[in-house]
Protein backbone atom coordinates (compact mmCIF):
# COMPACT_ATOMS: atom_id res chain seq x y z
CA UNK A 1 0.00 0.00 0.00
CA UNK A 2 1.69 3.16 -1.19
CA UNK A 3 0.13 6.33 0.10
CA UNK A 4 0.92 9.91 0.74
CA UNK A 5 1.84 10.62 4.32
CA UNK A 6 1.72 14.19 5.44
CA UNK A 7 2.25 15.87 8.70
CA UNK A 8 0.25 18.84 9.72
CA UNK A 9 3.34 20.80 10.38
CA UNK A 10 4.77 19.84 7.06
CA UNK A 11 2.86 22.92 6.18
CA UNK A 12 5.20 24.97 8.25
CA UNK A 13 8.08 23.37 6.50
CA UNK A 14 6.67 24.54 3.23
CA UNK A 15 6.20 28.00 4.57
CA UNK A 16 9.67 27.92 6.01
CA UNK A 17 10.95 27.46 2.51
CA UNK A 18 9.43 30.72 1.40
CA UNK A 19 12.10 33.00 0.16
CA UNK A 20 10.18 35.21 -2.18
CA UNK A 21 10.04 38.91 -1.50
CA UNK A 22 6.58 38.95 -2.97
CA UNK A 23 3.65 38.66 -0.60
CA UNK A 24 1.77 35.39 -0.87
CA UNK A 25 -1.34 35.31 -2.98
CA UNK A 26 -3.94 34.01 -0.59
CA UNK A 27 -2.24 32.74 2.52
CA UNK A 28 0.45 34.56 4.40
CA UNK A 29 1.37 37.99 5.61
CA UNK A 30 -0.79 40.98 5.02
CA UNK A 31 0.54 43.98 3.12
CA UNK A 32 2.19 45.47 6.18
CA UNK A 33 3.34 42.29 7.85
CA UNK A 34 6.48 40.21 7.57
CA UNK A 35 5.21 36.90 8.87
CA UNK A 36 3.36 33.93 7.46
CA UNK A 37 0.71 32.00 9.36
CA UNK A 38 0.65 28.32 8.50
CA UNK A 39 -2.26 26.08 9.55
CA UNK A 40 -1.04 23.21 11.67
CA UNK A 41 -4.35 21.44 12.21
CA UNK A 42 -6.04 19.11 9.79
CA UNK A 43 -9.45 17.46 9.67
CA UNK A 44 -11.31 20.48 10.99
CA UNK A 45 -15.07 20.10 10.78
CA UNK A 46 -18.17 22.14 11.52
CA UNK A 47 -20.28 22.06 14.64
CA UNK A 48 -17.95 21.00 17.43
CA UNK A 49 -15.35 22.98 19.41
CA UNK A 50 -11.84 22.15 18.30
CA UNK A 51 -8.24 23.20 18.71
CA UNK A 52 -6.86 25.17 15.80
CA UNK A 53 -3.13 25.78 15.57
CA UNK A 54 -0.84 27.90 13.45
CA UNK A 55 2.87 28.14 13.03
CA UNK A 56 4.19 31.66 12.58
CA UNK A 57 7.31 32.04 10.47
CA UNK A 58 9.26 34.78 8.75
CA UNK A 59 10.59 34.67 5.25
CA UNK A 60 14.13 34.35 6.58
CA UNK A 61 13.18 31.03 8.24
CA UNK A 62 13.14 32.57 11.69
CA UNK A 63 10.18 31.63 13.83
CA UNK A 64 7.78 33.56 16.02
CA UNK A 65 7.62 31.93 19.42
CA UNK A 66 6.19 32.44 22.91
CA UNK A 67 3.32 34.54 24.25
CA UNK A 68 -0.11 34.74 22.66
CA UNK A 69 -1.68 35.65 19.34
CA UNK A 70 -5.18 36.84 18.58
CA UNK A 71 -7.10 34.99 15.89
CA UNK A 72 -10.22 36.16 14.09
CA UNK A 73 -11.96 33.73 11.76
CA UNK A 74 -14.12 34.65 8.79
CA UNK A 75 -16.21 32.39 6.60
CA UNK A 76 -15.34 32.91 2.94
CA UNK A 77 -17.65 30.37 1.34
CA UNK A 78 -16.97 27.22 -0.56
CA UNK A 79 -15.04 26.47 -3.70
CA UNK A 80 -18.29 26.50 -5.62
CA UNK A 81 -19.76 29.51 -3.87
CA UNK A 82 -17.19 31.94 -2.49
CA UNK A 83 -18.62 34.80 -0.46
CA UNK A 84 -17.56 38.05 1.07
CA UNK A 85 -15.95 37.37 4.47
CA UNK A 86 -18.53 36.77 7.17
CA UNK A 87 -17.42 37.26 10.78
CA UNK A 88 -16.84 34.12 12.78
CA UNK A 89 -15.28 33.10 16.08
CA UNK A 90 -12.45 34.97 17.76
CA UNK A 91 -9.90 33.37 20.04
CA UNK A 92 -6.62 33.86 21.82
CA UNK A 93 -4.04 31.37 20.65
CA UNK A 94 -1.39 30.42 23.16
CA UNK A 95 2.09 29.31 22.21
CA UNK A 96 2.69 25.60 22.63
CA UNK A 97 6.40 24.81 22.53
CA UNK A 98 7.63 21.65 20.91
CA UNK A 99 8.11 19.13 23.69
CA UNK A 100 11.63 19.35 25.04
CA UNK A 101 12.32 22.81 23.64
CA UNK A 102 12.54 26.02 25.65
CA UNK A 103 9.50 27.97 26.77
CA UNK A 104 9.64 31.33 28.43
CA UNK A 105 7.50 34.06 29.80
CA UNK A 106 6.99 37.30 28.00
CA UNK A 107 5.55 38.12 24.67
CA UNK A 108 6.10 36.77 21.20
CA UNK A 109 9.66 37.02 19.93
CA UNK A 110 11.69 36.15 16.88
CA UNK A 111 13.62 32.95 17.52
CA UNK A 112 15.89 30.54 15.81
CA UNK A 113 14.72 26.90 16.05
CA UNK A 114 17.33 26.31 18.73
CA UNK A 115 15.86 29.09 20.88
CA UNK A 116 12.21 28.13 20.60
CA UNK A 117 9.77 26.52 18.23
CA UNK A 118 6.15 25.52 18.40
CA UNK A 119 2.66 26.55 17.37
CA UNK A 120 0.01 28.99 18.51
CA UNK A 121 -3.08 27.05 19.56
CA UNK A 122 -6.61 28.41 19.90
CA UNK A 123 -8.93 26.22 21.94
CA UNK A 124 -12.65 25.57 21.60
CA UNK A 125 -13.06 27.13 18.19
CA UNK A 126 -16.43 26.22 16.68
CA UNK A 127 -17.08 26.72 12.99
CA UNK A 128 -20.80 26.96 12.34
CA UNK A 129 -20.69 25.76 8.75
CA UNK A 130 -18.41 23.86 6.40
CA UNK A 131 -16.41 25.68 3.80
CA UNK A 132 -13.28 27.79 3.74
CA UNK A 133 -12.45 29.93 6.73
CA UNK A 134 -9.82 32.64 6.81
CA UNK A 135 -7.92 33.19 10.02
CA UNK A 136 -6.43 36.58 10.66
CA UNK A 137 -3.64 36.05 13.15
CA UNK A 138 -2.36 39.11 14.96
CA UNK A 139 0.70 39.02 17.14
CA UNK A 140 2.80 41.75 18.76
CA UNK A 141 6.39 40.67 18.26
CA UNK A 142 9.32 42.09 20.17
CA UNK A 143 11.32 44.21 17.78
CA UNK A 144 8.78 43.90 14.98
CA UNK A 145 5.64 45.45 16.43
CA UNK A 146 2.17 44.31 15.48
CA UNK A 147 2.15 41.71 12.74
CA UNK A 148 -0.88 40.22 11.06
CA UNK A 149 -0.98 37.23 8.77
CA UNK A 150 -3.82 35.39 7.13
CA UNK A 151 -4.29 31.72 6.53
CA UNK A 152 -7.22 29.84 5.06
CA UNK A 153 -8.34 26.46 6.33
CA UNK A 154 -10.90 24.05 4.93
CA UNK A 155 -13.64 23.03 7.35
CA UNK A 156 -15.49 19.85 6.49
CA UNK A 157 -19.07 18.94 7.26
CA UNK A 158 -17.85 15.91 9.18
CA UNK A 159 -14.47 14.57 10.25
CA UNK A 160 -12.68 12.30 7.82
CA UNK A 161 -10.92 10.29 10.51
CA UNK A 162 -12.14 9.19 13.97
CA UNK A 163 -13.15 12.08 16.20
CA UNK A 164 -14.42 12.60 19.74
CA UNK A 165 -17.74 10.85 20.28
CA UNK A 166 -16.96 8.11 17.78
CA UNK A 167 -16.48 4.55 18.87
CA UNK A 168 -12.80 3.64 18.73
CA UNK A 169 -11.85 1.09 16.12
CA UNK A 170 -10.88 -2.22 17.78
CA UNK A 171 -7.57 -2.35 15.99
CA UNK A 172 -5.03 -5.12 16.33
CA UNK A 173 -1.96 -2.90 16.13
CA UNK A 174 1.48 -4.45 16.22
CA UNK A 175 2.97 -5.10 19.64
CA UNK A 176 6.11 -6.67 21.06
CA UNK A 177 4.24 -9.99 20.88
CA UNK A 178 3.55 -9.70 17.16
CA UNK A 179 5.16 -12.52 15.23
CA UNK A 180 7.02 -12.29 11.98
CA UNK A 181 7.38 -8.52 11.79
CA UNK A 182 10.59 -6.52 11.98
CA UNK A 183 11.03 -4.40 15.08
CA UNK A 184 11.16 -1.33 12.88
CA UNK A 185 7.52 -1.95 11.97
CA UNK A 186 6.64 -1.75 15.67
CA UNK A 187 8.72 1.37 16.27
CA UNK A 188 10.78 3.02 13.55
CA UNK A 189 13.47 3.92 16.05
CA UNK A 190 14.39 0.25 16.30
CA UNK A 191 15.80 0.51 12.79
CA UNK A 192 18.46 2.93 13.98
CA UNK A 193 19.07 1.91 17.58
CA UNK A 194 18.60 -1.83 17.28
CA UNK A 195 16.01 -1.81 20.03
CA UNK A 196 12.63 -0.36 20.81
CA UNK A 197 13.27 2.50 23.22
CA UNK A 198 9.79 2.58 24.72
CA UNK A 199 8.64 -1.06 25.03
CA UNK A 200 5.96 -0.02 27.52
CA UNK A 201 4.14 1.70 24.66
CA UNK A 202 4.04 -1.48 22.60
CA UNK A 203 2.39 -3.96 24.95
CA UNK A 204 -1.28 -3.35 24.27
CA UNK A 205 -3.49 -3.47 21.24
CA UNK A 206 -6.30 -0.98 20.97
CA UNK A 207 -8.66 -3.93 20.60
CA UNK A 208 -7.54 -5.41 23.90
CA UNK A 209 -7.82 -2.11 25.75
CA UNK A 210 -11.40 -1.73 24.52
CA UNK A 211 -12.25 -5.34 25.32
CA UNK A 212 -10.95 -4.96 28.87
CA UNK A 213 -12.64 -1.61 29.40
CA UNK A 214 -9.44 0.29 29.92
CA UNK A 215 -8.93 3.90 28.88
CA UNK A 216 -6.16 4.22 26.33
CA UNK A 217 -3.95 7.03 25.12
CA UNK A 218 -2.97 6.08 21.59
CA UNK A 219 -0.22 7.84 19.66
CA UNK A 220 0.05 7.42 15.91
CA UNK A 221 3.50 8.62 14.93
CA UNK A 222 6.67 7.64 13.13
CA UNK A 223 9.55 9.09 15.13
CA UNK A 224 12.20 8.41 12.51
CA UNK A 225 10.38 8.87 9.22
CA UNK A 226 8.24 11.85 10.16
CA UNK A 227 8.19 14.65 7.65
CA UNK A 228 7.47 17.25 10.30
CA UNK A 229 9.74 18.10 13.20
CA UNK A 230 7.33 16.93 15.87
CA UNK A 231 6.86 13.15 15.79
CA UNK A 232 9.95 12.39 17.85
CA UNK A 233 9.20 14.96 20.54
CA UNK A 234 5.56 13.94 20.91
CA UNK A 235 6.58 10.30 21.20
CA UNK A 236 8.96 11.27 23.98
CA UNK A 237 6.11 13.17 25.62
CA UNK A 238 3.78 10.19 25.58
CA UNK A 239 6.50 7.94 26.95
CA UNK A 240 6.96 10.35 29.83
CA UNK A 241 3.22 10.57 30.42
CA UNK A 242 3.03 6.78 30.48
CA UNK A 243 5.47 6.74 33.38
CA UNK A 244 3.31 9.13 35.40
CA UNK A 245 -0.18 8.10 34.40
CA UNK A 246 0.11 4.35 34.09
CA UNK A 247 -2.66 3.99 36.66
CA UNK A 248 -5.12 6.00 34.55
CA UNK A 249 -4.84 4.48 31.11
CA UNK A 250 -2.85 2.13 28.95
CA UNK A 251 -0.46 3.81 26.57
CA UNK A 252 -0.02 2.71 23.00
CA UNK A 253 2.29 3.91 20.24
CA UNK A 254 1.27 2.85 16.74
CA UNK A 255 4.11 3.15 14.24
CA UNK A 256 2.99 4.54 10.89
CA UNK A 257 5.31 2.64 8.58
CA UNK A 258 5.53 -1.11 8.24
CA UNK A 259 8.33 -0.71 5.69
CA UNK A 260 9.39 2.81 4.82
CA UNK A 261 11.79 1.76 2.07
CA UNK A 262 8.99 -0.06 0.30
CA UNK A 263 6.49 2.64 1.32
CA UNK A 264 4.19 0.19 3.06
CA UNK A 265 2.04 1.56 5.87
CA UNK A 266 0.98 -0.33 8.96
CA UNK A 267 -2.64 -1.41 8.71
CA UNK A 268 -3.42 0.04 12.13
CA UNK A 269 -2.33 3.46 10.92
CA UNK A 270 -4.34 3.31 7.73
CA UNK A 271 -7.38 1.99 9.58
CA UNK A 272 -7.44 5.08 11.76
CA UNK A 273 -5.85 7.86 9.77
CA UNK A 274 -6.23 7.29 6.06
CA UNK A 275 -8.74 9.62 4.46
CA UNK A 276 -10.98 8.64 1.55
CA UNK A 277 -8.56 10.41 -0.78
CA UNK A 278 -5.78 8.08 0.38
CA UNK A 279 -3.81 10.69 2.27
CA UNK A 280 -2.70 10.17 5.82
CA UNK A 281 -1.61 12.82 8.29
CA UNK A 282 0.43 12.22 11.41
CA UNK A 283 1.14 12.49 14.24
CA UNK A 284 -2.20 12.13 16.00
CA UNK A 285 -2.96 11.42 19.65
CA UNK A 286 -6.26 9.86 20.74
CA UNK A 287 -7.72 9.41 24.20
CA UNK A 288 -10.21 6.56 24.37
CA UNK A 289 -12.51 6.14 27.36
CA UNK A 290 -13.18 2.91 29.23
CA UNK A 291 -16.40 2.58 27.25
CA UNK A 292 -14.50 2.51 23.98
CA UNK A 293 -15.62 5.97 22.92
CA UNK A 294 -13.07 8.56 21.80
CA UNK A 295 -12.88 11.32 24.40
CA UNK A 296 -10.42 13.64 22.70
CA UNK A 297 -7.82 13.88 19.98
CA UNK A 298 -4.84 16.09 19.25
CA UNK A 299 -3.18 16.77 15.91
CA UNK A 300 0.41 17.52 14.96
CA UNK A 301 1.55 19.31 18.09
CA UNK A 302 -0.06 19.54 21.46
CA UNK A 303 0.44 20.82 24.95
CA UNK A 304 1.52 18.30 27.55
CA UNK A 305 -0.65 20.09 30.09
CA UNK A 306 -3.70 19.60 27.86
CA UNK A 307 -3.15 15.87 27.80
CA UNK A 308 -2.36 15.78 31.50
CA UNK A 309 -5.66 17.51 32.24
CA UNK A 310 -7.54 14.92 30.21
CA UNK A 311 -5.74 12.07 31.93
CA UNK A 312 -6.39 13.62 35.35
CA UNK A 313 -10.12 13.38 34.67
CA UNK A 314 -9.94 9.62 34.27
CA UNK A 315 -10.59 7.50 37.35
CA UNK A 316 -7.69 5.42 38.57
CA UNK A 317 -7.75 1.90 37.21
CA UNK A 318 -8.18 -0.76 39.85
CA UNK A 319 -5.82 -3.29 38.29
Amino acid sequence: MRRTVMAGLALSLLAGACSSDEPPASTGPTATSQIVAVPATSDLFAGDPQRVSFGLVRNDNKLISFGDAEVTFSFVGTAAEPTEPQPGPEATATFVPTYGTPDRNGGPAVTSPNEGRGVYQADDVTFDQPGFWTAEVTVVVQGMGTQTAEATVPVLDAPQIPAPGDRAKPTENLTLDSKGVPQGAIDSRAATTGEIPDPELHEWTIARAIAEGRPALVLFATPVFCVSRFCGPVTDMVQELAARYGDRAVFIHVEIWKDYQEQVLNEAATEWLQTPSGDLTEPWLYLIGDDGVILDRWASMWSESDVEAALDELPRMTN
Binding site: G8, C18, N114, V153, R189, C226, G232, Q263, P276
Partner: protein, 135 residues
Amino acid sequence: MRSIGLSVLLALATVACGANGDDATDLHGSVTQDQADEAMAALCGIAEGRVTAFDEVQAAFNNRAHETLHHIAEVAQEEDPAAAGALLEAKSVVETDLEEEAEPPAEIADHVAILAEATASAIRVIGLNAGACSA
Protein backbone atom coordinates in the same frame (compact mmCIF):
# COMPACT_ATOMS: atom_id res chain seq x y z
CA MET B 1 -17.25 19.16 1.60
CA ARG B 2 -16.01 15.72 2.42
CA SER B 3 -14.40 15.61 -0.97
CA ILE B 4 -12.08 18.47 -0.07
CA GLY B 5 -8.95 16.57 0.78
CA LEU B 6 -6.33 17.60 3.22
CA SER B 7 -4.11 18.23 0.27
CA VAL B 8 -5.97 21.51 0.04
CA LEU B 9 -4.06 22.57 3.09
CA LEU B 10 -0.83 21.79 1.41
CA ALA B 11 -1.92 23.60 -1.69
CA LEU B 12 -2.75 26.68 0.32
CA ALA B 13 0.56 26.53 2.08
CA THR B 14 2.30 26.22 -1.22
CA VAL B 15 0.59 29.38 -2.33
CA ALA B 16 2.13 31.00 0.70
CA CYS B 17 5.52 30.18 -0.67
CA GLY B 18 5.39 32.78 -3.37
CA ALA B 19 3.97 30.78 -6.20
CA ASN B 20 3.55 34.06 -8.02
CA GLY B 21 7.21 34.90 -7.66
CA ASP B 22 10.34 33.90 -9.49
CA ASP B 23 11.37 31.58 -6.70
CA ALA B 24 8.71 29.14 -7.70
CA THR B 25 10.82 28.04 -10.63
CA ASP B 26 13.86 27.53 -8.39
CA LEU B 27 12.17 25.24 -5.92
CA HIS B 28 12.75 21.53 -5.99
CA GLY B 29 9.67 20.67 -4.05
CA SER B 30 10.21 23.16 -1.29
CA VAL B 31 14.01 23.13 -1.26
CA THR B 32 16.30 25.69 -2.86
CA GLN B 33 19.94 25.22 -3.77
CA ASP B 34 20.89 27.84 -1.18
CA GLN B 35 19.06 25.95 1.54
CA ALA B 36 20.68 22.68 0.53
CA ASP B 37 24.12 24.33 0.53
CA GLU B 38 23.51 25.85 3.95
CA ALA B 39 22.46 22.53 5.44
CA MET B 40 25.47 20.75 3.94
CA ALA B 41 27.81 23.47 5.21
CA ALA B 42 26.42 23.09 8.72
CA LEU B 43 26.74 19.32 8.67
CA CYS B 44 30.23 19.39 7.19
CA GLY B 45 31.36 21.85 9.84
CA ILE B 46 30.49 19.28 12.48
CA ALA B 47 31.67 16.26 10.53
CA GLU B 48 35.04 17.84 9.80
CA GLY B 49 35.61 18.79 13.42
CA ARG B 50 35.47 22.54 12.85
CA VAL B 51 32.44 22.86 15.13
CA THR B 52 32.94 20.95 18.36
CA ALA B 53 31.46 22.87 21.31
CA PHE B 54 28.16 21.23 22.22
CA ASP B 55 26.09 24.41 22.07
CA GLU B 56 27.61 25.29 18.72
CA VAL B 57 26.94 21.80 17.39
CA GLN B 58 23.32 22.07 18.54
CA ALA B 59 22.94 25.51 16.99
CA ALA B 60 24.49 24.45 13.70
CA PHE B 61 22.29 21.38 13.46
CA ASN B 62 19.03 22.85 14.71
CA ASN B 63 19.23 26.29 13.14
CA ARG B 64 20.96 25.63 9.84
CA ALA B 65 20.25 22.03 8.89
CA HIS B 66 17.36 20.37 10.69
CA GLU B 67 14.40 21.91 8.95
CA THR B 68 15.98 21.67 5.53
CA LEU B 69 16.69 17.99 6.12
CA HIS B 70 12.96 17.47 6.59
CA HIS B 71 12.29 19.36 3.37
CA ILE B 72 14.80 17.31 1.45
CA ALA B 73 13.48 14.02 2.79
CA GLU B 74 9.90 14.97 2.06
CA VAL B 75 10.70 15.73 -1.56
CA ALA B 76 13.12 12.83 -2.04
CA GLN B 77 10.58 10.37 -0.67
CA GLU B 78 8.56 10.72 -3.85
CA GLU B 79 11.50 9.83 -6.07
CA ASP B 80 13.64 7.55 -3.96
CA PRO B 81 12.27 6.35 -0.61
CA ALA B 82 15.51 4.52 0.16
CA ALA B 83 17.51 7.73 -0.11
CA ALA B 84 14.97 9.62 1.98
CA GLY B 85 14.92 6.82 4.53
CA ALA B 86 18.70 6.77 4.82
CA LEU B 87 18.68 10.50 5.48
CA LEU B 88 15.96 10.27 8.11
CA GLU B 89 17.57 7.32 9.86
CA ALA B 90 20.93 9.08 9.99
CA LYS B 91 19.21 12.24 11.24
CA SER B 92 17.53 10.26 14.00
CA VAL B 93 20.89 8.97 15.22
CA VAL B 94 22.28 12.50 15.40
CA GLU B 95 19.18 13.73 17.20
CA THR B 96 19.65 11.02 19.79
CA ASP B 97 23.24 12.19 20.24
CA LEU B 98 22.06 15.74 20.76
CA GLU B 99 19.57 14.71 23.43
CA GLU B 100 22.45 14.10 25.82
CA GLU B 101 22.34 16.47 28.76
CA ALA B 102 25.95 17.58 28.91
CA GLU B 103 28.08 16.51 26.00
CA PRO B 104 27.34 14.58 22.84
CA PRO B 105 28.98 11.19 22.44
CA ALA B 106 32.43 11.07 20.93
CA GLU B 107 31.04 9.53 17.77
CA ILE B 108 28.87 12.49 16.89
CA ALA B 109 31.24 13.74 14.19
CA ASP B 110 31.13 10.29 12.59
CA HIS B 111 27.35 10.17 12.89
CA VAL B 112 27.04 13.59 11.30
CA ALA B 113 29.42 12.53 8.53
CA ILE B 114 27.07 9.63 7.75
CA LEU B 115 24.17 12.06 7.81
CA ALA B 116 25.99 14.45 5.50
CA GLU B 117 26.64 11.66 3.03
CA ALA B 118 22.99 10.59 3.11
CA THR B 119 21.90 14.20 2.77
CA ALA B 120 24.11 14.78 -0.24
CA SER B 121 22.65 11.71 -1.91
CA ALA B 122 19.10 12.87 -1.22
CA ILE B 123 19.88 16.36 -2.47
CA ARG B 124 21.05 14.89 -5.74
CA VAL B 125 17.88 12.79 -5.90
CA ILE B 126 15.79 15.94 -5.90
CA GLY B 127 17.83 17.46 -8.68
CA LEU B 128 20.07 19.83 -6.78
CA ASN B 129 23.84 19.82 -6.43
CA ALA B 130 25.71 18.51 -3.43
CA GLY B 131 29.31 17.62 -2.88
CA ALA B 132 30.90 15.59 -0.14
CA CYS B 133 32.40 16.89 3.07
CA SER B 134 36.19 16.99 2.94
CA ALA B 135 36.69 14.77 5.96
